[in-house]
Point group: C2
Chain length 315, copies 2
């Protein structure tokens, strides 16, 4: 029996006689044969690999997204090649190049800001690409996310509606290319003429830096009555710090977060936040990509998953 028959028995069972197919399967089981997908990829020019690039895997923000991508990609018979760029666009470029060199069938990247060289290479590769965690007028190709600007603006409006008058926006380092900036801009837009102080911590956006931030904020401007944090992790850290110091929230200062991470509903008092689903972003991005790869017309190349202000006790 020739190699091609084995290949067909595995990939297109219908095109092989029932008896032949069974013989092949028996032999495979006996010999412990494992098809070489590398050779297959070279010959067929399809690797069944999806490359995914996130800023970071640790932390509640993108871990869910990676999980969503992993689940969807494996369900569709693909494998996930993963890279983290640490908010460095140069590192993102290197990863894109490496993944293209690996002949990934498609790529998922985070955000809409990329180095010019990255855009160029991506376009030249002709690969399907999904951008995530944002919504842009002109995606590279496909995009799934939500408007960070509008989400943050909605939170500012919510806080104003609740009667808070002196607002603060708190984030980690404000980079040119992450999602802190549109959130800051959106919050500014929503704050309108209300007093607004901004604080950008240089040492991260984790719970500890949230705790430091709330103390620093109130030292700098004791009259602030509501603080919006760029993510729930920071916000929860701030909330705990207030508890520790006996500052009631929202009595002393109201606190709001972003993301509706697990911690948001669990802390006491429960955290007012903006709900978005990282898992769903990852899942949808992967499904759009694999649908396109299966030759299906992807009608909605721009998927806005939206957001929702979740009013809880902290603000």
């Amino acid at each position: 029996m020739s190699a091609i028959t084995v290949s067909r028995a595995l990939r297109e069972p219908a095109r092989v006689a029932e008896e032949t197919r069974r013989a092949v399967l028996r032999a495979i089981a006996r010999l412990g044969y494992v098809p070489d997908l590398v050779a297959g990829a070279l010959a067929s020019r399809r690797s069944r690999i999806v490359g995914a690039i996130v800023p970071t895997i640790a932390g509640a923000m993108f871990a869910d997204t990676v999980q969503g991508m992993s689940d969807a990609v494996h369900a569709e018979g693909y494998q996930l090649l993963l890279g983290a760029h640490g908010y460095d666009l140069g590192a993102e470029l290197a990863l894109v190049q490496a993944f293209i060199g690996r002949r990934a069938d498609g790529l998922i990247v985070t955000g809409v800001q990329h180095a010019p060289a990255t855009r160029r290479i991506l376009a030249a590769s002709g690969l399907p690409v999904v951008e995530t965690w944002d919504i842009g007028r002109r995606p590279l190709d496909m995009i799934v996310g939500f408007s960070n600007f509008r989400a943050a603006r909605a939170m500012a409006e919510y806080l104003l509606a609740r009667g808070y008058r002196r607002l603060a926006f708190i984030s980690g380092p404000l980079r040119a290319h992450d999602r802190s900036r549109p959130r800051r801009d959106g919050f500014r837009a929503g704050a309108r003429h209300a007093a607004l102080v901004e604080l950008h911590m240089t040492d991260g956006s984790d719970m500890r830096s949230g705790a430091k931030a709330i103390v620093e904020l109130l030292a700098r401007d004791p009259k602030v009555d509501a603080a919006f944090f760029v993510n729930d992790t920071m916000a929860a850290g701030a909330l705990m710090e207030c508890t520790r110091r006996g500052w009631p929230t929202p009595g002393r200062v109201a606190i709001a977060g972003f993301g509706d991470f697990e911690v948001a509903a669990a802390v006491a008092p429960a955290l007012t936040t903006v709900r978005i689903s990282g898992y769903e972003i990852g899942r949808r991005a992967a499904l759009m990509l694999t649908a396109r790869l299966a030759g299906k017309e992807v009608s909605h190349a721009i998927v806005d998953l939206g957001f929702e202000v979740v009013a809880r006790d902290s603000a």
Copy 2:
């Protein structure tokens, strides 16, 4: 100029004349040539891919580990193929097969419990393998982790030393093959003759189920004075629930967690826990693997990263 010269200019610049090398680089830049690593892998029989399998990516437990693997693997010039099996050994087998079929140069798996077929295939493949998050007498090949049994036992001894007399062990579903069981066994061993109640929540091991668990526990046995949770996420959820109900911790009940996740130090009261480093486990596992692949003798095939009981305020 022949193809092999280009290949050498890229992979072993020293073996090519300086001038030739520069000409190659210029041409590559001009043409936008991207070497096909799939073809390279087929020809050289080395893919420079590391396959990694974790139970889940979401959640504080393994996200750090994946980050550590990603960082180390990329630093060593490899790519990371990632899969999550959701605590299903059958799914683990499927991933192992797929990664071997992809001709990964080595594999990182979680834990020491694997389906017989998985062990067989792994052995037959001859690939270097690192098991993680545990320590076993007889690893498949290499292993990096710590003793879950001893870590949990140490926590029981700590609680006893602090004067608690009626202990509880709380986990999510107790599977045959995850790390809840050795922790439970270790805690039992450490509890000796002290009263011990065990509670296994069926619906997960997240903050919400931790919150439910502490209520259920104290309803069932109001005299319990210290509860040890299988991870910090559950413990933090329980802690918050106590705060919400006005139950002082440790006044009403002491609470201890496992992992020293970010949340442990940040909650109020700060959480007593067992410190281990998921990031370091991932990083070391990847480095052991790449060292072996580089032909280096890996002297310590068994790396015990240890643990440390961190006494804070909650217990």
